[in-house]
């Protein structure tokens, strides 16, 4: 409701009676508003160009195009303007009609001055709040953008490009990739870039829930559906209404669940466990797997029809070892992240440690990398992470068996166990299930030395 001279709110008055236009114009000008008046719909539509108008006062009964008709036209041109209808006599029907069409309110002539000024102030407040809401939402979408999607390699850029372009559609997406490559992150990116972003993204880890529970997890259940079902519960598909459901580890579900899933995904309709009422839900499906589904289909473990239903658009995430150029920025990102979380002034990693990290094969991909950095950050002494802060698997890349002989493997294994136990002989001997003397002998035999 700022009414300072630079940013004055605008009020447009449309009424066929001169006295009404004249008096209202004067009245609102004295209130400091920018005011224009038109005597008919044509004039009003012309004046719309001189807008934006924050509040538009419209006479319902006018010769030519009626106020109701004009209201619709204005709404098509400027959705944001708050429209207040003026009626000469309380014609409730048309006033109600105008409210249904989205008018802010209506007044009957003559109007109480107190009422009119409050009404206009409320309309302006309402308009400003909606404007602010739009602005905040835009701001929020920029904040929502997952910043964890790090990488400059062509492989990851391609993935991001695919994800953002498929986001705008409602197409089912299948995300393929090894464990820890960031499949959920991609699902989140797709959701956030889609028109469903203000609705929930519901992740379901199909592999983590036993089959009997998965059904009620996905579809919900009615009270008393089974022992322990004390309350009615909404399922994930119901919660995802308007949004996206992310089915992780889709390859692990049983044939029975596959049938049910297929039906739900096709009809967007289901019933709760123990219920009979069909529930409709508007969701988008994104699923992820690290299994070879094609092989599973061949073997009959995964239904072919469900496979084709899900595999509409595939995004394949490359494993970390295939995009090693992304490791340094990822490391830097995680160091920053944990430095903030742990409030620890470790801001960098030394060259030797980074070299070890780059050369490691990363079977656990980005997740493993993040965990390694988190662990290193705990141990590191400011200002930087050194190779000694890294776990033994990395630091000990030389401890690969030198040949396939049993002796070579035994040597490496003993060395690893000793390292893991910090050269505590008793604990290492227990772990190897040999006595301490034997261990000493083997240490001497292989010439192992405490670092």
């Amino acid at each position: 409701m700022e009414t300072n001279s630079n940013n004055r709110s605008g009020i447009l008055i449309v009424d066929d009676e001169f006295v009404v236009r004249d008096s209202l114009t004067k009245w609102f000008r004295q209130d400091g508003y920018r005011v224009e008046a038109a005597e008919n719909a044509a004039g009003a539509l012309k004046l719309l160009d001189k807008g934006p108008w924050d509040v538009i006062l419209l006479d319902i009964k006018m010769p030519g195009m009626s106020g109701l008709e004009l209201q619709k036209r204005i709404h098509e041109i400027d959705k944001a303007a708050a429209i207040i209808m003026i009626t000469a006599f309380a014609s409730v029907e048309s006033a109600v009609q105008s409210l249904k069409e989205g008018a802010f309110d209506y007044v009957t002539k003559p109007v109480d001055p107190d009422h009119l000024s409050h009404l206009v102030q409320n309309a302006l407040r309402h308009k400003n709040l909606s404007k602010e809401n739009v602005r905040l939402r835009e701001h929020l979408s920029t904040l929502l953008t997952p910043d964890d999607l790090i990488g400059e390699s062509p492989q990851i850029k391609k993935v991001v490009e695919l994800a953002t372009s498929v986001a705008q559609t409602d197409t089912t997406v299948m995300i393929r990739g090894e464990s820890g490559t960031g499949k959920e992150l991609i699902a989140r990116t797709i959701h956030i870039n889609s028109n469903r972003r203000y609705f929930p993204l519901i992740p379901v880890n199909c592999g983590a829930v036993p089959e009997s529970l998965l059904e009620s997890e996905l579809f919900g259940h009615e009270k008393g559906a089974f022992t322990g079902a004390q309350y009615k519960r909404k399922g994930k598909f119901e919660l995802a209404d308007g949004g996206t459901i992310f089915l992780d580890e889709i390859g692990t579900i049983t044939p029975k669940m596959q049938v049910q899933l297929l039906r739900v995904i096709e009809s967007h309709q289901f019933t709760r466990v123990g219920g009979s009422e069909p529930i409709k839900s508007d969701f988008r499906v994104i699923c992820a797997t690290n299994r070879d589904l094609e092989q599973a289909v061949k073997e009959g473990a995964f239904r072919e029809d469900l496979y084709y239903r899900l595999n509409v658009f595939t995004v394949s995430l490359p494993p970390l070892r295939e995009r090693r150029s992304d490791i340094p920025p990822l490391v830097q990102h995680f160091v920053q992240k944990y430095s903030t979380i742990m409030n620890k002034p470790v801001k960098e990693i030394d060259a030797a440690a980074l070299d070890l990290i780059i050369r490691y094969p990363w079977p656990g991909n980005v997740r493993e990398l993040e965990n390694v950095i988190e662990r290193a950050m705990v141990l590191a002494k400011p200002p930087s992470i050194k190779s000694t802060d890294l776990p033994f698997q990395l630091a000990q890349t030389h401890a690969a068996p030198n040949g396939d002989t049993l002796e070579a493997i035994e040597k490496v294994h003993i060395e690893n166990i000793l390292h893991r136990n910090g050269w505590n002989i008793t604990r290492s001997a227990e772990m190897l299930d040999i006595d301490r003397v034997t261990l000493y002998n083997k240490i001497a035999k292989f010439g192992l030395k405490k670092p």
Binding site: V19, Q30, D31, P113, D114
Partner: protein, 190 residues
């Protein structure tokens, strides 16, 4: 020399006119004079269906009647005023124009079933007079609820505000006055 002329419309007690004349004197540096000859018969602006007087018509009549007067004209009436789209108005003024009018009808506590309070009535009258003249000097409504230019559509709101301009309105008043008047406009207190 330009002046603010206070005139009655219809029968207005001389005491009211005197109170307004002296009350607004301090707010504007232009001299304030009274003309009690009562030259306007408001009957032509009367709407029998509303039992009220159309204030805009009265304003135009004032402008015609005092066309030779240099300065502003403030009319005081005891009649209830309206503009067609509103149920009533306390007063009306030409924004940055010549004429202003106030009605004392709704300022009297007895209208609201309360005992008469002449002192409060007089205060309200002065505030409304300063407010409408403020419009005639080009001021619009002010957000400062203590400023006399704050919009008030009920007597409670009139009572809340003071009878003087806030700093910002005072400044606007001075700049607009010095721009439009050759004889200069400065606030001075005797």
């Amino acid at each position: 020399m330009a002046s603010i002329m206070v005139v009655p419309i219809g029968s207005v007690p001389a005491g009211h006119l005197f109170a307004v004349t002296t009350g607004i004197n301090e707010s504007f540096s232009m001299p304030v004079v009274r003309d009690t000859s009562n030259r306007i018969d408001p009957a032509f602006a009367f709407d029998p269906s509303r039992n009220q007087y159309y204030s805009t018509l009265l304003l135009s009549s004032l402008v015609r009647m005092f066309s030779s007067h240099r300065g502003k004209v403030l009319a005081v009436t005891e009649e209830d005023l309206y503009i067609p789209v509103l149920t009533y108005v306390f007063g009306e003024a030409q924004l940055d124009g010549k004429a202003a009018i106030i009605s004392t009808f709704r300022l009297d506590d007895t209208l609201y079933g309360l005992p008469a309070n002449p002192r409060r009535f007089e205060e309200r009258m002065i505030k409304e007079a300063v407010h409408e003249l403020g419009h005639a000097f080009g001021l619009v409504h002010c957000r400062d609820f203590e400023c006399v230019m704050h919009s008030s559509s009920g007597v409670e709101e009139v009572d809340l505000k003071s009878s003087s301009f806030c700093v910002q309105c005072t400044n606007t008043l001075q700049t607009s006055a010095s721009g439009t008047m050759t004889d200069g406009y400065t606030r001075s207190h005797p």
